[in-house]
Amino acid sequence: MDFLEILRTALQQALGPTAIVYVLAAIGINVHFGYTGLLNFGQSGFMAVGAYGLAVTVVILDGSFWLGVAVSFVAALALAIVLGLPTLRLRADYLAIVTIATSEALRLVFGSVEMKDTFGGSNGLTGYSKVYKDLNPYSDGIDLGFISYRRDDLWNITVGWSLVAICCLVVWALMRSPWGRVLRSIREDEDAVRSLGKNVFAYKMQALILGGMIGGLAGLFFALKQASVVPTDYNTNLTFLAYTALLVGGAARVLGPVVGGVILWFLLSGLGATFGQMTSGPDPILPTWLMDSSQSSLTRFIVTGLALMLLMIFRPQGIFGDRREIAIDGR
């Protein structure tokens, strides 16, 4: 066991591009769930349309890169409207049902054999990120002593953390505005807000669109850092991990999803590296009947599932949250 190596991997991953994807997704969920009380269980669907919006525009339709970026945002916006229209007047679980069902359906459509010419089937699409790669100003990677990033990843994390900063700024500014206060009051008591003459449906829809577009941005960044979009990447596990990241940091806090995402990814990468080491090599520490190397990568999902349950039960406010802010109930 090489503990220094595990620590290095965990730290590298916690600040790296993959963690940023989850942080962005969690910021979107924070707008939905944390501030407005909307249960969006289909953030992976928003991410998928964001990613495929870019990839399909550039690869299949031969559009320009920036057009593709615009299409990503429009696609996420359109998805939010389609999901919101039938459900936002109803009880909270209907939005949850429709979003999780849609995200799964989108994944099936994007991976389908019959639409291979449009979405690339189960192999997905590649070859859309040239413009993004050419923008890379760095000539070399960076070595911070303990951790180091290659040239590509350095560009990815520069762009990624800038996007995170912008999103946080937007969320911070919006949530301290009168508009944001209405959202919070909708979360606390929808009927009270309605009795004050506010159009609750419109506010919920705006929140769904804002969070969904941040989700689309997360998908866009995922597509760029990965340089390929593959349908299986956008399964429900992605949404559930983002929820866990949000709840670790604390919902309804601007920096909650950021801190939560980094901590969660640090722990999960550390765990993955630990079990990876324990199951690799000719004479692994763990016997193969108990765990082999493909099973070791599943430990992160098992632990995340447990963590999500325990967090919600014992510490719903996470690390930084305020318990009163998250004491919402089904309506």
Binding site: G37, L39, F41, V82, L85, P86, T87, R89, L90, R91, A92, D93, Y94, A96, I97, V98, I100, A101, T102, E104, A105, L108, V109, G111, S112, V113, E114, M115, K116, T236, N237, T239, F240, Y243, T244, L247, S294, Q295, L298, T299, F301, I302, T304, G305, L306, A307, L308, M309, L311, M312, I313, P316, A327, I328, D329, G330, R331
Partner: protein
């Protein structure tokens, strides 16, 4: 993916009979390609005229016969194509491609036949969905919780049956019964360990829903960890011959699936209407506070709903595994259909769950007959789900007050 999925081709000469059977043709090369031209594999027919080409999964494939490899003296009938398109719907049972040589080419399955076939298989699939939907509705009715880990309870049934069947060597019927028992026990255990303590703490429904997605992730990963990522079948009843009754073609296991689900669903519905426990469940579902103050033990009613609901859902998984295959993703894929079914019928209503399931089952299976790509036939259910929420959000049989 797709262990055991293959296209089996039998080549025979109908013009020459050996013992009354068409004579097999040996040594002919057959190639299978996907619809975009990628070659999947090729095989040469053996002494019995048989060739088998393994497939990666469902989809549409083209089987091509190499005319040059035909033995001398045998030629293809002018109407027989050398290419045959084969649609592999559900991976699992072997798909048969027949090249009738020397007889007229057969593409006799007309639209009407396909439609009737797909409606029958839709009803069968709808009944499998109905068992799971009934389970979801019972649990929702008693607790108010939309359980997002419900798909994993379907997977549980199939996976446990597989273990009892393959690893413990029980016949499928016994293994299935055991799996339903295990499911019932699991229903009791999850209420006892997880949901009852949460109710006692006064945890809100939204918090419980998030707990249920955590539980779903946890269970699904556990299944993937222990069962593995591949798709498996039980060791009995894999490929069966279809019997015909007029336009309806069913094999034995499909008949068994239909009969078992009908009997169980009827029994549950009668029990809900007639027995004391059933009445208590409906009362709690209607108004928990009033039921409690009239002296009912709400907690034990909820416990029974969890036991019965999980057992029914487990049975749905057992039958789904029998119908097609067992995979850790079975339940995740069914969840969309189950949600669409209960929403269509009316969340929390027993009859609604039944009706909605049959409609969804038929829509999903009939879709491909009308040109819906078969690999995304589940998407039709989503369209129904969104439309019903726009038009009549309480569902066909739901009451308006339920949706608040």
């Amino acid at each position: 993916m797709g262990d055991g999925t293959a296209i089996d081709v039998t080549l025979s000469d109908d013009s020459k009979k050996v013992d009354g059977q068409p004579a097999p043709i040996e040594g002919v090369t057959l190639t299978v390609t996907t619809d975009d031209g990628t070659e999947v594999g090729e095989d040469v027919t053996d002494a019995e005229g048989k060739a088998s080409i393994p497939l990666p999964g469902g989809g549409t494939y083209t089987v091509t016969l190499d005319e040059d490899t035909l033995p001398e003296g045998i030629e293809l009938d002018s109407k027989t194509r050398t290419e045959l398109e084969v649609r592999v719907l559900i991976s699992g049972s072997a798909t048969i491609a027949a090249f009738p040589i020397g007889v007229q080419a057969a593409d006799t399955t007309g639209f009407a036949t396909k439609l009737i076939d797909s409606i029958v298989s839709g009803i069968k699939f709808g009944l499998i969905i109905a068992l799971a939907a009934l389970g979801l509705s019972l649990i929702f009715g008693a607790t108010g919780l939309t359980n997002f880990a419900h798909g994993e309870l379907i997977t549980l049934g199939g996976v446990v049956t597989y273990w009892f069947n393959r690893d413990a060597g029980l016949p499928v019927i016994l293994a299935g019964l055991a799996a339903v028992l295990v499911s019932a026990l699991f229903g009791y255990a999850q209420d006892r360990v997880l949901w009852r303590p949460l109710r006692r703490r006064g945890t809100g429904l939204i918090a419980m829903m998030i707990v249920s997605i955590g539980f779903a992730l946890f269970l699904r990963s556990i299944f993937q960890y222990t069962f593995g990522g591949s798709t498996q079948t039980y060791d009995q009843y894999v490929a069966q011959v279809r019997h015909s009754w007029g336009p309806i073609h069913l094999n034995d296991k499909e008949i068994a699936i239909i009969v078992i689900s009908l009997v169980v669903i009827t029994a549950v519905c009668i029990a809900m209407m007639k027995t004391r426990m059933g009445k208590a469940m409906r009362a709690v579902s209607d108004n928990p506070a009033l039921s409690a103050s009239s002296g009912m033990r709400v907690d034990s009613v909820i416990r029974n709903a969890w036991i019965l609901g999980t057992a029914l859902t487990g049975l749905s998984g057992v039958l789904l595994g029998l119908n097609s295959q067992v995979s850790f993703q079975n339940g995740g894929r069914m969840l969309l259909l189950v949600f669409a079914a209960v929403t269509l019928g009316g969340l929390g209503t027993i009859w609604g769950a039944l009706l909605g399931s049959l409609v969804i089952g038929i829509i999903v299976e009939v879709g491909p007959t009308f040109g819906v790509p078969s690999s995304i036939k589940e998407v039709g259910a989503l369209v129904v789900l969104i439309l019903i929420l726009l038009v009549r959000p309480q569902g066909i049989l739901g009451r308006r007050e339920r949706i608040g």
